[in-house]
């Protein structure tokens, strides 16, 4: 394939135009931010040199919002206002949460996503996550000395649409431009694959604080192709802590404990779990507020016994992912271990026994996801160097379906379809003159709507009135490269575009996000106007560079007249770019985008033709 050397759009970015991009691992227990510096992916530390940021946020009655270690220190003393493992609540309702009764928070009974009452008001998990992301953004901007162009944020591969959307909303609230939502095991595979020049079929076993993912990937000639993925978005290290906690309560014969004591014992349980990765037994001691003493010893054997079913629970999805990929355990060349919870010896043993080979532990299981995400962010931001032409092909983890008559699900996009993917379906009206239609979209593998997760209700309005059954409404379900669903509809006979109203089942509406953004601006010292202007300027500059680079490579695709039009749009944007009229910038950007649409289309066609041509030339050479 070395016959035709094609330059990629954006490859020509000069070194001084290096765009600041980061990868963020927004974890259940800990979060990290990483970037690519001098061609190397590195994790950015705080001023004390600590790379992890505990995913803990405290909303105390007095004082600012605390994030990380300082918040974590108040877990036992201020449990109601100190929120931990909030990732488990993203895109989830109260009924979805296991052991919610043993959690110290004041949940608010609402429809849809959980909300928590704190001393600083009601918080949605999205806002809490946004506070964690904001802390990481500040860390990165301080370390890199400038505003970020964008971020890749990782999510568990098994996250459904609501959980992904919640993560993207959190980033938006934190003022981060999301280049891509990247699946955690895929991020790890990138880091592992690029480091080791790996080729072949690999499994990534990712057991984090609150989520479990298994992904099967084919690594071949710079392409990372996810063949299948599976998991459990409510299974992780936290659950092992909980087993130890329950064991402590039982062994010490404690009567119901206070919220603070429960939190204290949970921390001790976690410490014991971590201690057992290096030692044969762990002491668990605590002095409770009642004056009672806990003094126990947890051995590796007891721990393995009380957590046996949890370990087993990871093997079900693993088998399913292999079956979906049409593979057997012996087809797997290596198993990459990711997530702090994979340090537990019983996990290592179970994985080794299942795959019949020693798992790969040569990467730091806490950092590998952030490092892979940083590599991807660097690429997506357009900082492309020679040799950086790898490609990632990921899949949708759960089938998408719609509700049909009798509460049954009709699958529209099957799980493990490579994204982006779309499927169009035709619907018709039921009554004469009917102008609206409602669609219930669900995600899951079961046949009954009640056994799947409701994602959203889409209401199509503005269908031209016709007799029953005459309208032909073509609804297109599109899943983008972030794994997020969007729906569009068109009445075929009239060509009328139907208006769609989305009612997310477990998400925030656009209005809610907008009002949260507004609140953020009024509270923060950051001037909303200046900030929006700065963002528009950065965006416009990026567009100018992109068009210039495209013109440099492919001006031959344009007639003189077309070229002149693009040049004039470009000049116009460059002239308003330096001013402070945001509307003028937006208008000029819009004009340039429209003016280059046809150019972009021709370049894309050219790219495809060259890809095929390169192949044919290649073959002649064989």
């Amino acid at each position: 394939m070395a016959l035709l050397q094609l330059s990629e759009p954006g490859q020509s970015a000069a070194p001084h135009e290096h765009r600041l991009a980061v990868g963020i691992d927004l974890g259940t227990t800990n979060s990290l931010v990483a970037t690519v510096r001098s061609g190397m992916s590195v994790v950015l530390s705080d001023e004390l040199g600590r790379s992890l940021l505990p995913s803990v946020v405290r909303y105390a009655a007095a004082g600012p919002v605390e994030v990380g270690y300082s918040a974590e220190a108040h877990q036992a003393s201020d449990p109601k206002n100190t929120l931990v493992s909030v990732k488990r609540f993203m895109g989830r309702g109260l009924l979805d949460i296991a052991h919610s009764e043993s959690l110290p928070y004041d949940f608010i009974e609402t429809e849809g996503m959980i909300k928590l009452k704190t001393a600083q008001g009601v918080k949605s998990p999205v806002e809490v996550s946004a506070d964690i992301l904001r802390a990481l953004k500040e860390r990165a901007e301080a370390a890199l000395g400038g505003a970020l162009t964008g971020a890749v944020i990782t999510v568990p591969a098994y996250f459904d649409d609501a959980q992904r959307q919640a993560t993207k909303d959190a980033a938006r609230l934190a003022g981060l431009s999301v280049l891509r939502l990247l699946n955690e095991p895929t991020a790890a595979a990138i880091a592992y694959g690029l480091d080791n020049a790996a080729e072949g079929i690999y499994a990534v076993y990712d057991l984090g604080g609150g989520t479990f993912d298994i992904s099967i990937l084919k690594l071949s000639k710079g392409v990372f192709q996810v063949l299948s993925t599976g998991g459990d978005s409510a299974l992780g290290g936290d659950d092992f802590d909980h087993r130890v906690f329950c064991w402590v309560i039982e062994q010490a014969q404690l009567s119901p404990v206070s919220l603070g004591d429960a939190r204290l014992l949970q921390m001790r349980a976690r410490e014991a779990k971590e201690y057992l990765t290096q030692h044969g037994e762990a002491p668990i001691t605590a002095k409770l507020s009642t004056g009672e003493f806990v003094d126990l010893k947890l051995t590796t054997e007891i721990f393995a016994e009380i957590s046996r079913t949890l370990v087993q629970k990871t093997l079900g999805p693993t088998k399913k992912a292999l079956r979906d990929a049409g593979l057997a355990p012996e087809d797997i060349k290596g198993v990459v271990m990711v997530g702090g919870a994979t340090r537990m010896p019983q996990i290592q043993h179970a994985v080794e026994a299942f795959f019949g080979k020693e798992p790969l532990n040569n990467l730091d299981p806490d950092k590998v996801v952030a490092l892979g995400a940083a590599t991807q962010a660097n690429l997506l931001a357009g900082n492309r160097a020679a040799g950086d032409d790898w490609l990632l092909l990921d899949v949708i983890p759960l089938s998408l379906g719609i509700e049909t008559m009798g509460g049954l699900v009709e699958k529209i996009i099957p799980r493990n379809s490579t994204i982006p993917v779309a499927r169009a379906q035709e619907f018709t009206t039921f009554k004469d003159g009917q102008t609206a239609l409602a669609l219930q979209v669900v995600q899951g593998e079961r046949e009954l709507v009640s056994d799947c997760r409701s994602l959203a209700r889409f209401e199509l309005r503005g269908i031209p009135p016709m007799v029953a059954g005459a309208a032909r409404i073509r609804v297109t379900f599109q899943v983008d490269a972030d794994g997020l669903l969007s729906v569009s509809a068109r009445e075929q006979t009239s060509g009328h575009e139907a208006h769609i109203e989305v009612k997310p089942s477990y998400g925030l509406s656009d209005d809610e996000i907008t009002s949260m953004l507004k609140d953020g601006y009024t509270h923060a010292s950051d001037d909303a106007f200046r900030r929006a202007l700065r963002e528009a300027q950065v965006e416009a500059q990026r567009l100018v560079e992109a068009v210039q680079s495209a013109l440099k490579d492919d001006a031959h695709l344009l007639s003189m007249l077309e070229r002149a039009h693009i040049d004039s749009c470009l000049t116009k944007l460059q002239s308003v770019l330096i001013g402070d009229d945001r509307r003028a910038i937006d208008a000029a950007m819009d004009a340039l985008s429209k003016g280059t649409a046809e150019f972009a289309a021709r370049r894309m066609n050219q790219g495809v033709r060259r890809a095929l041509a390169g192949k044919k030339v290649d073959e002649v050479n064989l």
């Binding site: 392409v223 079956r323 092909l393 490579t418 993917v421 894309m604 066609n605 033709r609 890809a611 192949k615």
Partner: protein, 180 residues
């Protein structure tokens, strides 16, 4: 949307990859071509560009994914060939199948139900292997029929294969439940 109506996208899936329009297909070659095209059009390659470019990239990548998925799978590929030849209309509604085939399928179905009820993996494994063998033979016959432009016969084989593929999926699902 201008760019998406381009000639490259209006052509059939075989032409998109520059492959001959026939059932026999080198899947490795298709995969290599698919990867090469995705390397050009995938949204990740256009993430730093204007929104219009990103949208175009998503449409292209979606289209290429659909083309690849359709051609990769022999049953979908055959259905697509029938569709291109204007012979697919009755696939969903026409359920006429040779009596011999139906009787055999009925027996298989009963055997699957029985093994499921007992919850025993071994007979299901045996059924899986037998079905796999039958299916392989049907695909060979299907390719012959399509090569000979015997669309009527090809349509019949496609209908039978749809039936058999569904049954083998049921066997696999049952195995999954047992092994869980």
């Amino acid at each position: 949307m201008t760019g998406f109506d381009h000639e490259t996208l209006r052509q059939d899936f075989f032409s998109l990859f520059g492959l001959p329009r026939q059932q026999g297909l080198d899947v490795d070659r298709l995969e290599a071509l698919y990867r090469d095209i995705q390397a050009k059009v995938h949204p990740d390659k256009h993430a730093h560009l204007a929104d219009s470019d990103k949208r175009l990239a998503m449409q292209w990548a979606t289209h290429v994914n659909e083309a690849y998925q359709t051609l990769k799978d022999p049953l979908q590929r055959a259905r697509y060939l029938l569709q291109l030849g204007g012979h697919d209309a009755r696939l969903e509604t026409n359920t006429a199948m040779p009596m011999e085939f139906l009787v055999e399928q009925m027996e298989l179905r009963e055997a699957v139900a029985e093994a499921k009820a007992v919850g025993d993996a071994d007979p299901l494994d045996v059924l899986h292997r037998r079905l796999k063998k039958d299916i392989r033979a049907e695909y060979a016959a299907l390719q012959q029929a399509l090569d000979a432009n015997a669309f009527e016969r090809a349509g019949e084989l496609v209908r039978q294969l749809m039936f058999q593929e569904k049954l083998i999926r049921e066997v696999d699902d049952a195995l999954e439940v047992i092994e869980r």
